[in-house]
């Protein structure tokens, strides 16, 4: 699980891009991006989220997000990306 906080935009997107490629995440069976502390995301950030999803799928990993701030949720739903990704209310859902 990777926890994101603050803002995911043009400036911070490269950080997530490189984290996705880290050996820890590459070896996991499932990748969960925890967006609970993420206050903002823009289209570039969205693109990186989607790229992460694509990369996980390629590696045969499961992929999920947790719900982010109101703005994050709005962008995910406006773009209908939310329909294509598994979004959990909290990481506890994994235990169920």
């Amino acid at each position: 699980m990777l926890s994101l906080s603050g803002e995911l935009d043009l400036a911070s997107a490269p950080i997530l891009e490189s984290e996705i490629e880290s050996s820890d995440l590459a070896a996991a069976a499932m990748v969960v991006l925890d967006l609970r502390e993420l206050s903002f995301i823009d289209s570039t950030g969205l693109r990186v989220l989607l790229a992460a999803h694509e990369r996980s799928t390629e590696r045969g990993q499961q992929f999920a997000l947790t719900q982010g701030s109101e703005q994050v949720q709005r962008l995910l739903s406006i773009t209908r990306v939310s329909e294509h990704l598994r979004i959990m209310a909290s990481p506890d859902e994994l235990l169920v």
């Binding site: 803002e7 206050s39 903002f40 823009d42 989607l50 406006i78 990306v81 329909e83 294509h84």
Partner: protein
């Protein structure tokens, strides 16, 4: 300094004769003149011989209780010497029966009217002493205590030898009175020497203190100054200060308050104390008129008052030199302010002018900034002087005279070498020698330069210019201490100018490219008015990802397009171009809006570099009988706002999948009616998000602005929204802003209908 010696109190005893009176008066005179006890006691002893005694001995009690004779006087000096010698060899036993020892022990005087040999032997300090006393015929004696308060300091003994007069009670009283006065004198001398000890210790501390200290009396005279004070006030030594005529020292200095206003000397804490005020420590800027040296002093004063009258005797002033601290503090705030100015705008010629204005008068009286331009010439880009007349003159001179980069001195030298230069104490001769060019000399003379600092403005790889600071009119003169600050200013200005130049170049490229990606002009829509606004994100001065378009197709249909390609730079620019052209082509080929977006989605998927994503909002407009029919299609984009005649807003359209990544996409078309007087607003997410994370405009802010829409022209509305977004972002957009709006005019449809029929 004040010492608290006590005056002898009034005489209680009634001396019996005028001779006795004379003796006391003389003794008083002696005791008042000297404060050295040994000398004084010798004089007192001698006064008694021969008027009152043939032999007089004054003994004092040491701290350890032993007794020593301090004065011996005799009519026969041989006896005196012999007795001194004897006492040295056989000191009096303080616990013994000798009358002196007893008087010192008891504090009571003793009258021995006649002394027999038996008596003498009984208290003699050995046989030699006894023989001496008997031999010299000790006959009658009075021993009086030297009492000071509760303590007995010693004893005064008067003796008659041979067959002279015997002492009586009157004599006892007289000797006691004399002893009292002598005791007082001794005690005063002790007090005085203690005070002097304290004073000496204090003086040693004051003299060696690094802080300047002066002591001034009520007439304004300096009665004490230490070496630090002499150094501070420009004197060779403290004596030069203490011997100076009052009022001749301070005119050597210009004394300013913290904000640079000249201070009246009466405002100094010391003077105010004498006026009975309670001043707080005062921070002053002190400038040596002769040299222009500037010092920051914290002046604290306190009083020395007379304990009895509480009158102020002296004012002690401590001048704490905080120049270094204050300079560092001022330098930091100056640089912070300069950096703020330098960062505020990318228009560096304007910025440098403001930096020059900041340097004057804070640092110098005149400031000029020279830059090396594209052609390798030195160009004066900013100049500032406190005096507008001389500023004009300097500007005229610098216009006619432009130094070549290979000149050996001055600005060209500093730019060439990258090393700062400082010239202090400029005289006309030095000027002529240091500045080869007569114009330079003329300029420096014209501004009456006294000191000059030229610092390089360093860019990343080379020196791009120089800042010249000149002091002329003000008493304060630039010094080596200012050099470091000036160099830091030069470095910061250099970096700022260089990044501004790079920024300007990049911005020009970006804007050129941007213009190529947006429609050059908006078409006229019959019966409608159309407007657009676009602001690229300033910070990243790259080609933005937002785009819009308006075009007519299929007869009298119109298409409004707004979109956001994620990312920035050349790649985003390529996608923007792809999106616009794909959508136009798809519309021309008769596709419905949903189909147009599907086509764009496929085109993006086919892009060689992988996932490119883009959000789009399409609004197709077609004429109906009494209104226009809008078809709104959204692909990951904010729904457009339809603003009614009273400012109410409605979002139209259903969310659809963004394009380029997620497969399959799910996009649906929504229909709406638009009537005359209504306004349709399309925008990108940069608008509500401007100013995040704190103070963003927000959807609510945008809706609020839309309330005013009916009262505003369309371009005013967009301008207000753009301004609000820029304001909430404090002028620094992190994302592009694009706005596209359509307003239907009241009487449009029928007239345009006929015109379009005519065209057909």
């Amino acid at each position: 300094m004040a010492s608290s010696t006590r005056e002898p109190t009034s005489v209680n005893a009634q001396p019996t004769s005028s001779a006795a009176m004379d003796l006391l008066v003389e003794a008083g005179a002696v005791l008042a003149t000297s404060l050295d006890p040994a000398t004084t006691m010798g004089q007192v002893a001698r006064l008694t011989v021969p008027r009152l005694a043939d032999l007089c001995v004054i003994d004092l009690r040491n701290d350890d209780g032993s007794i020593r004779d301090v004065a011996v006087a005799a009519a026969d000096t041989g006896i005196a010497r012999e007795l001194e010698d004897l006492r040295a060899r056989y000191p009096l036993d303080p616990r013994g029966e000798h009358p002196v020892a007893r008087v010192i022990r008891t504090g009571e005087p003793q009258l021995l009217p006649t002394m027999t040999s038996e008596l003498l032997r009984s208290f003699a300090q050995g046989s030699e002493h006894a023989r001496f006393m008997i031999e010299h015929d000790y006959h009658s004696a009075v021993v009086a205590p030297l009492s000071a308060g509760e303590r007995t300091l010693g004893a005064l003994s008067v003796l008659r030898l041979g067959d002279g007069e015997l002492y009586r009670n009157d004599d006892l009283e007289l000797v006691c009175e004399l002893a009292r006065r002598a005791a007082l004198a001794i005690d005063n001398a002790r007090l005085y020497s203690e005070v002097r000890d304290v004073e000496q210790r204090l003086a040693a501390i004051l003299v060696n203190l690094a802080e300047a200290i002066t002591v001034m009396d009520e007439r304004g005279r300096l009665v004490f100054a230490n070496q630090a004070a002499a150094d501070l006030l420009g004197a060779a030594n403290p004596a030069e200060l203490t011997s100076a005529v009052p009022g001749t020292i301070m005119p050597r200095f210009l004394v300013l308050d913290e904000s640079g206003r000249e201070l009246d000397l009466e405002a100094m804490p010391g003077r105010r104390l004498f006026k009975g005020e309670q001043p707080t420590p005062l921070l002053v800027r002190n400038i040596v008129r002769a040299t222009g040296e500037e010092r920051w002093l914290n002046v604290r004063s306190s009083t020395v008052t007379d304990p009895d009258s509480e009158r102020i005797l002296y004012v002690v002033s401590v001048f704490e030199n905080i120049t270094e601290v204050k300079r560092a503090q001022l330098a930091e705030s100056f640089l912070a302010e300069a950096s703020r100015l330098l960062a505020a705008s990318m228009d560096y010629s304007e910025t440098l002018q403001r930096v020059a204005q900041l340097a004057v008068p804070q640092l110098a009286d005149w400031c000029a900034v020279d830059l090396v331009n594209d052609r390798g010439e030195i160009e004066r880009v900013a100049v500032h002087h406190t005096d507008p007349v001389r500023l004009a003159l300097a500007e005229r001179l610098s216009r006619t005279h432009r130094p070549a980069l290979d000149e050996p001195t001055g600005v060209p030298e500093v730019i060439r070498t990258g090393r700062a230069r400082i010239f202090t104490d400029l005289e006309p001769e030095t000027l002529a020698a240091s500045a080869r060019d007569t114009e330079d000399v003329e300029l420096l003379r014209a501004i009456r330069a006294t000191a000059v600092i030229i610092v390089p403005m360093a860019g990343a790889s080379r020196t791009i210019g120089a800042i010249t600071l000149v002091s002329s009119d003000s008493v304060r003169r630039l010094s080596r201490a200012d050099l470091a600050l000036a160099e830091r200013l030069g470095r910061r200005a250099g970096t700022a100018v260089e990044s501004a130049r790079i920024y300007t170049e990049r911005t020009q490229i970006a804007h050129t490219l941007q213009r190529a990606l947006l429609p050059e002009s908006l078409p006229d829509i019959p019966g409608g008015e159309i407007a657009a606004k676009y602001s690229p994100a300033g910070e990243l001065n790259d080609v933005g990802g937002d785009f819009y378009d308006v075009f007519g197709y299929d007869g009298d249909r119109w298409m409004l397009v707004i979109g956001d390609v994620c990312g920035k730079g050349a790649r985003a620019a390529g996608v923007t171009a792809l999106a616009r052209h794909t959508l136009r082509a798809a519309a021309m080929s008769g596709q419905s809006p949903a189909e147009m977006l599907a086509t764009l989605h496929e085109a993006l998927r086919r892009q060689p570099m992988g996932a490119d994503l883009c959000t789009v909002c399409l609004v197709a407009i077609e004429r109906a009988s009494e209104h226009r029919r809008l078809t709104v299609t959204l692909a990951g984009h904010q729904p457009p706002l339809l603003i009614g005649p009273s400012g109410e807003t409605t979002q139209i359209g259903k969310p659809g999948t963004l394009l380029g990544v997620v497969d399959p996409i799910d996009i649906s078309e929504s229909q709406a009616e638009m009537h005359a007087g209504q306004t349709l607003l399309l925008y990108t997410d940069g608008v509500p998000e401007a100013g995040r994370p704190s103070g963003q405009l927000g959807e609510q802010g945008l809706l609020e602005l839309c309330r005013h829409a009916p009262r505003l022209t369309l371009s005013d509305l967009l301008e207000q929204i753009e301004r609000a977004a820029l304001q909430s972002a404090a002028g620094r957009l992190r994302d592009d802003i694009a706005l596209l709006a359509l307003r239907l005019t009241d009487h449009g449809p029928s007239r345009h209908q006929s015109r379009s029929e005519l065209v057909r």
